[in-house]
Symmetry: C3
Subunit: 314 residues, 3 copies
C-alpha cells in the first residue's frame, strides 16, 4: 500500500487481520525491515493510545521514531491555495509536507474534525494535504472522517473472539457530555461492511451517520431490540451529523448496562467516560474487550507499517 | 523488584549502591538486557534531570523509550471509583494504566503533590493508581510523597565521597519564595535511616516533616548547632507539613553560606535558587557535589531499571 | 571542532561542503560512530525542519536522541550572575548546562532573538551560557545571531547547483507581516564571505544588517539592479537592525516574482509566506531549491555531528 488513509482502501480485510494475528505472535520477527527507516508522528491533537501504540509498532519493526506535537511545537499551517499569507499562518502545507518527507520514510498524522464546519471537515485538509504533497507514504492516526487503525484493531479483536462465522455485531450510540467526532464510528462501519456478520447500528433519531457510509446497513432506533442476542456490542458516542457537530440529547437511558449487554462482548475504542457511556460493572467485568482492543492497536499499526515498508523496499 | 515506588522498599541499600557504582564503571555492559523492552515516561509535571537521566539510563540498558507530557498531550484522568464521568475528566486511571501497560514493559511516572489537600496528596492518586491497575512495573520519578531515584542517587554520592564509616550528615531546610513539596526531603530521610551515619535534621519550628517519616531521627532547631562538624550538608526547602503547603517564613538567615558550611560537602537535588537557598560561593566552590549528584541520577535509575528487567526476564 | 556556534568557526567551508556531499551519498556509513552517544535537543522556541533534520542526522550516525521543549517542559532559567533568585527563574544556567552535560554527549540549542533588547540578544545568553558552562560540545540550532546549520545547508545546495566557479548570488530582503530575527541572514552572509562568488545584498534603506557582519559586502538598494543576471536569489525577511526589531515597511513591491527571478535559482530557508515573500509561481516552479535546501539540513547537521563525534573519540 502507498498511503493508509481509510479502512476502505485495503485489498482484503480478512488477509490483513490474519497477517496481523501472525505478527502478534512474534512481534520482533521483522526488526530488520525498518532498519534506517524513520517514522514521523505528527500530532495536531492530543493522543495516548495512538501515540504509544504506533510508536511501539514502529519500534517492533526496527524503525526510528520522531514524535512532534505539531500544533504546539511547529508552525501554523496554511491549507488554502493562492492565499496571500499575511495573517496567522506561517507555512503552507505544500512546503510542510515536502519538507517532512525529506526526514521521514513514513509520516503518520492525527488531525481531528473541528465539528464547526462540515464542508471543511469533509475536505480533510490536513490528512489530504499531506497525502497530496508528501513524497512518502502517509498513515492516518485519526482524521476528521476516519480512524482506520482503530477499525483494524477492532477487526483483529473481533476475529480473536468470534465463536461463529457470522456473529451479530451492534454499533450502539451512547450519551456523552461533549460533541465528539464521527471518525471512529465511520471507520467501524466501513470495516464491518467488509465482514461476514449481522451488523446493526442503533442510535436515537437525529444521530444518523453520513448515509454514504452507512449505505445498506440496518439502522434500528430501538436500542433494546437492536441489542437482542448480540455477540458483540461496540459502543461509541458521536455528535449529530445532520445538525452538524451538535449534541442533540444525552439521554442516560442509552448508557450500556450489564443487563442490556446480556451475554455479548463489550467493545469501546477508549477513552471512555464511566457511568455515562457504560456502567462500571461492564468495564470491570469479564465480557469487556477494551484492553485487548487497545493491545491490538500495536498490531494494527504494525501490520500496516510492515506492508508500507515492504512496498518501499521493492 | 516489581514496582519501585519508595526508597523504603529496597532490600539492602548498601548492596544497591554498590551495584550502581559497579554499573557506573561500565554503563553499556548490559545493553542486551533491554533489547525489545520499552520504557514509557509519563510526566504530569515538568522535569529536566529526571527526564533526561531516566531516559539515558534506559538507553544505556538498550531499552527503547517513549516520553509523554501526559498532562499536555494526553487526556485528563479520573481517579475516583464509581464517579459519573460527565465533567472534566475523559479517562479513568483503571483504563489508562491497563492501556499503557499494553505498550510499555516498564512505566515511569512523575506526579507532584498539589499541596492544597494533604489527604489527597497522601493518597498518591496517580502513582498508586498506576501501581494498582498497571500490569507492568511502575517506577516513581517523584510523586507527592517521595523521590526515591533522587535519594538513591544521593546515597551513591554519599558513598563515593564518604571518608569515614559513620559520617555526620545534616539535612537543612532553606528558604524559598514558593511552596515546595516534601518528596525529596522525605525520601532523603528514609534513605538516611538505612545508612550508617550520624543524621540530623534542622529547620525552623513549624517545618517538621511527617513524624511517621522522621521517627527516631534527631531534629535540631538551631541550624548552627546542627551544622557543626558536619561531613555532608544536604540542603532543601519544603513547605510546612503541619500547616499543609504553607510558606510560614522565608528567613534569609537559613540560607547556606560558605561560612556555615565549614569543611562539609554541599548537596542539593537541583534546581536550586542561588543566593536564596545557598550562596554562589558554595555552588561554585569545590565542596559542592550537586553536579555529581545529578550525574548519579543516571546510575540510580539504571540500577533500578536493571533490577526490574532482570526480574521480568525470569 | 569543539562547539559549533557560528559558520565563521569552520576551518574550510569548501572541505566541509565536500565532506557533507560525500556523506549524503551514503548517510548510514558511519553508524558505528554514534553508538552509545546521546544528542540532547533543547528547544527554547518552536521548530519543524531543525528539529526533524537534526534528529534524523543523529539517527543516521547511530546516536540516541533526547528531545525537550525546554521552555514548556523544563524550568525557567536564570542567566545573570550574582542574582538573588527569588523571582520567576528556578535554575541558573550554570547548573542547567553542567547537569545536561551529564546525560548528553552533545547538546543542541535553539533560542531565538527576542528582538526587544539588542544588547541582550547580542549577548546570546542561552547559547553562550550553555557553551560556557557545559562540559560537552554545543551545537547551534539557531540563536539570536546566527543559524549556521542553515547556512551550511545552503552552501551544500549552492555547490550542488552551481554551474560556474564564481556564481552571482543575491540576498534579497522581502516583506513580512511580523518582525523576524536576523539569524538566517547573518549566517548566510558569513557563509557567502567564505565563498568564491559575486555576492550582493539588496534591501530597502533602514534594513541594513549589522555592519560588522556585512563588512566588505556590496549593498544595493535597487532590487531590480541587484537581481540582474543573478544565478541564485536567496530571499529572506528580517526586521530592522538599526531601529532594532522594528518592521519599518512591508512594501509588496519587494516580493519576489517569477519575472524578477529571471533565470536564477530561488532559495529560502522556510517557512515561507506565499504571495507575501514570494509568489506561488516561483515556489511551484522548477527554479525553486527550497525542498533541496530542507533536505540538505540533514547533511549539514550530520557532517557537523560527525566532526564533533570524531573529535570526542580522539
Amino acid at each position: 500500500m502507498r498511503h493508509f488513509l481509510s479502512i476502505t482502501e485495503i485489498d482484503s480485510l480478512i488477509n490483513l487481520v490474519s497477517d496481523a494475528r501472525a505478527l502478534k505472535k512474534s512481534p520482533f520477527a521483522s526488526k530488520d525491515l525498518g532498519r534506517n527507516k524513520t517514522l514521523g508522528l505528527l500530532f495536531f491533537n492530543n493522543s495516548l493510545r495512538t501515540r504509544l501504540s504506533t510508536q511501539k509498532a514502529a519500534l517492533n519493526l526496527g524503525m526510528d521514531v520522531m514524535v512532534m506535537s505539531f500544533g504546539k511545537e511547529g508552525w501554523a499551517l496554511e491549507y488554502q491555495d493562492g492565499t496571500i499569507m499575511d495573517q496567522g499562518t506561517s507555512e503552507h502545507i505544500r512546503e510542510a509536507a515536502q519538507v517532512v518527507s525529506q526526514y521521514c520514510d513514513v509520516i503518520a498524522i492525527r488531525a481531528f474534525a473541528g465539528l464547526k464546519d462540515k464542508e471543511k471537515d469533509e475536505a480533510e485538509l490536513v490528512l489530504n494535504g499531506f497525502a497530496t504533497y508528501a513524497s512518502v507514504p502517509i498513515l492516518n492516526m485519526e482524521s476528521s472522517l476516519g480512524h482506520p487503525l482503530q477499525a483494524l484493531a477492532d477487526a483483529i479483536t473481533l476475529a480473536e473472539h468470534s465463536k461463529n462465522t457470522k456473529p451479530k455485531v451492534v454499533l450502539s450510540w451512547a450519551p456523552h457530555p461533549k460533541a465528539l467526532p464521527h471518525a471512529v464510528a465511520n471507520s467501524f462501519v466501513e470495516m464491518m461492511r467488509q465482514q461476514q456478520a449481522e451488523f446493526i447500528i442503533t442510535h436515537p433519531k437525529g444521530y444518523e451517520l453520513n448515509p454514504a457510509i452507512t449505505e445498506g446497513v440496518q439502522i434500528e432506533y430501538d436500542q433494546n431490540k437492536a441489542l437482542k442476542d448480540a455477540d458483540f456490542v461496540y459502543v461509541k458516542n458521536w455528535s449529530s451529523y445532520l445538525e452538524y457537530g451538535q449534541v442533540l440529547q444525552q439521554d442516560p437511558d442509552w448508557m450500556i448496562t450489564q443487563e442490556k449487554l446480556g451475554k455479548a462482548k463489550f467493545m469501546h475504542c477508549l477513552p471512555v467516560r464511566r457511568n455515562v457511556v457504560v456502567e462500571d460493572a461492564v468495564l470491570d467485568g469479564h465480557q469487556s474487550l477494551v484492553v485487548e482492543q487497545a493491545n491490538n492497536r500495536t498490531y494494527s499499526a504494525q501490520i500496516v507499517l510492515k506492508k508500507i515498508l515492504e512496498e518501499i523496499k521493492e
